[in-house]
Subunit: 223 residues, 2 copies
DNA sequence: CGGATTCAATACACATGTGTATGGTGGTAA
DNA sequence: TTACCACCATACACATGTGTATTGAATCCG
């Protein structure tokens, strides 16, 4: 414990010295409460009980903090995806685990959900965040696709269904994040989506797809 | 044209005087680019070619601007919903119009989409925005439910399917807003969702819904 | 014409934010 | 002990933001 130890597992409590990860964790708290725009250095330092001088030792500047956070986020999301499907169990159980992971395991991990939504929000105006989100999205959709492909050999249909499955879960996250989203409805949605997968399987969606129907929906502008 | 005219249709070009709505429109521009946190008074005034003194004549303070914007947004979203379903045409065409409205009519109305996402983002930390979003969500889901109920008398199933339909479209908005979301995939998703509705109809989703499957997905924290 | 009203420019006081330069403190090693 | 280094505090310069008070220029109206 005296000599070189990869500085991996030290929490704030053991060692009074702050680590880079401590700052990132505190930043996550601010992000949960107010999005990325709430990540400002002075409030962050206050929360950690230090002054700004400490920050500029651990990070080059504000952008460095944001970049580091995004990197860590992407890496963790990728890792948790790899952790999924340890053995080849059945599709039902796997689907359930995926939905639990993406939809939030019954009330808990609302923090994780809010962080992800904040990252998505940032991605609309920041290239680095956009790349991270794109990578994670692609990985998750591919994961689902591979899962569905184990039941039937239909790459096209599997891709479509996994895409639909994915946007449905993400949309459920978003809509149910507000006060309108009660826990019961979210659970109901989870069962709905699960049913969609297990019933249709990958070989489904023989929809009819013409264009047609001119719409008269101009409405107002945005705003 | 000389006497009282409800000051409804005057744009910035005709009259050099700025109206409250002009400020709100400019604010929409900032919101599209940088979210609600980008709505600051000085950049807004610069964009309109005036100084901040003008702002504080039209609005009491910054909060007043945000509140007015949210009010107008909710009112317009409600109005455009009423405008839908002028006559009782078939379900296919109506579904198509709804998806076009929610998903964005092929590339255009990306502004409207971004504004909505920004409002949703704000709703996570602002009660007023949360109420507006909740009202709009509820209205839209009810609208879809009523539409589906015209095909089969199954309130429960119609509610479920409309909910699923809704979160799928919102999720598609969110996921496809980034650079990962190409136009083709979005169109594909639209057909997928449309197929889901027209194929299943309201009387569907006889899924199997147990809980089961203990998950070993702890992973990291958020961040 | 003259006064009231509407809309906008300017000036001021204050708060908050960033980044840098510099100084201080405790632990470690020669 | 002394020198060094990791970590943090303090002070400064500067930028940006809000809100208010005051002044100014059109415009409407009696």
């Amino acid at each position: 414990m005296t000599t070189a130890q990869g500085d991996g597992g030290r929490r704030r409590s053991e060692r009074e010295q702050l680590s880079r990860d401590d700052w990132l964790d505190a930043a996550a708290g601010l992000i949960v409460e107010g999005g990325f725009d709430a990540v400002r250095i002075l409030p962050l330092a206050r929360r950690l009980g230090v002054s700004r001088g400490s920050f500029y030792w651990h990070f080059r500047d504000h952008q460095d903090l944001v970049s580091s956070f995004l990197q860590r986020w992407q890496q963790r999301r990728m890792a948790e995806l790899e952790l999924l499907t340890p053995a080849g169990d059945d599709l039902r159980a796997e689907t359930h685990r995926i939905l639990r992971l993406l939809l939030g395991e019954s009330g808990r991990s609302v923090r994780r959900m809010r962080v992800e939504l904040a990252v998505r929000d940032l991605a609309r105006r920041d290239d680095e965040a956009a790349r991270a989100v794109a990578a994670v999205d692609e990985a998750r959709i591919r994961h689902n696709q591979n899962l569905l492909l184990r039941s039937a050999d239909d790459p096209e249909g599997a891709r479509d269904l996994s895409l639909l499955l994915y946007v449905a879960t993400i949309g459920a996250q978003l809509v149910m994040a507000g006060p309108a989203g009660d826990e019961a409805t979210l659970a109901r949605l989870e069962r709905l989506i699960a049913g969609l997968v297990s019933r249709d399987g990958p070989a489904a969606l023989q929809w009819c797809g013409e264009e047609g129907a001119p719409d008269g929906t101009e409405g107002y502008g945005d705003g």
